[in-house]
């Protein structure tokens, strides 16, 4: 496996591989998101208690779980960068941070817009909401650290350490609804065994979730490619590529 992975530690190979991947990922993301969102908005049944406000679920839950998933992926990248000094892992962690921050913000905004009609308040300082807000600040801290140093290796180290310390927040978010009394409901989809949702609600959710995940992959690839170029700007292959691109 390591032999197979080894060439991807080369920035040039990774750059061209990402470029080749992008059109496929973009097409798949567009297909899944358009089917999923039309299904969620037009065809999925309304909830018997929450009515049509339930449709917020189809963006809120994917955004929230992706905000945690991206953080986890970023932590793995930060760890491999700190332990094995993989420079590309740094670049990928830097590419992931803004995407994760955006999805955390979306989870918070859609959560507030769902909380107002259902709970009667936009915001409450309970465990789930507060820990998700802390996640947003962790992301902002990581982004700030990546941009705080001229030397990208140093910046990656500092941001990586913050990322790894912040991992403690992920199980806190995940289990906050079980550990503390909270307004936020427990998990519906990821229950072991049978999910407590009817299938005509679950299917559009799955399609939306795949669509959002693919969109995350697209944006991370776009940013990853930018990071590779910025970090290798003195390499001859980048210089050649710039010349070809601008002529």
């Amino acid at each position: 496996m390591w032999k197979w992975l080894h060439p991807y530690a080369n920035p040039e190979v990774s750059y061209h591989f990402t470029n080749k991947l992008l059109p496929w990922l973009s097409a798949l993301a567009a297909i899944f998101l358009s089917i999923g969102l039309v299904w969620a908005l037009l065809f999925a049944p309304a909830d018997y208690q929450q009515g049509h406000s339930f449709r917020i679920f189809y963006v809120h839950v994917p955004a929230a779980s992706l905000s945690m998933g991206i953080y986890f992926a970023m932590a793995i990248a930060a760890f491999s960068s700190l332990v094995w000094q993989l420079k590309l892992a740094d670049a990928s962690a830097a590419a992931m941070a803004p995407v994760g921050a955006a999805f955390t913000a979306i989870a918070l905004i859609t959560g507030a817009a769902w909380g107002k009609p259902m709970w009667g308040t936009w915001w409450i300082w309970d465990a789930r909401l507060t820990s998700e807000l802390i996640l947003l600040f962790l992301y902002l801290g990581v982004i700030a650290l990546h941009n705080a140093f001229e030397d990208k290796n140093l910046a990656g180290k500092a941001a990586g350490i913050l990322t790894l310390v912040g991992v403690i927040n992920i199980p806190i978010i995940k289990y906050s609804v079980d550990w503390w009394n909270t307004l936020h409901q427990g998990s519906t989809v990821s229950k072991l065994g049978k999910p407590s949702m009817s299938l005509d609600m679950l299917w559009p959710f799955i399609i939306c979730f795949i669509g959002f995940s693919l969109l995350v992959a697209v944006i991370i690839c776009l940013r990853f490619r930018n990071e590779i170029l910025a970090r290798n700007s003195i390499r001859p292959w980048v210089r050649e590529l710039v010349q070809k691109h601008n002529s």
């Binding site: 908005l41 037009l42 049509h52 449709r55 803004p98 913000a105 817009a113 107002k116 776009l222 210089r239």
Partner: protein, 81 residues
């Protein structure tokens, strides 16, 4: 189809404001992120091209100065001889 008319769809059973706020904010944030990430590629390429131009200019200036120095030295040597 869960709605009988377009206005029904916009109204979302009275929850229209909250539903469209959620979907609108999501679309806005993701579109911004997607476009800025895509535009970043050309920006970085332009930056690198500009840096290369500056480096080339510096190198040319350095070579020019070297030539001038050599000429001056030669002239001085001729004078002293």
């Amino acid at each position: 189809m869960q709605f009988n008319s377009f206005s029904d769809f916009i109204n979302m059973g009275g929850y229209g404001f909250y539903v469209w706020l959620s979907f609108g904010a999501t679309a806005l944030i993701l579109t911004f992120l997607l476009i800025s990430s895509k535009a970043g590629h050309q920006q970085i390429i332009n930056q690198i091209a500009k840096r290369k131009q500056r480096e080339d200019k510096l190198r040319q200036a350095r070579e020019l100065r070297k030539q001038q120095n050599e000429q001056q030295n030669k002239a001085l040597n001729e004078v002293t001889e």
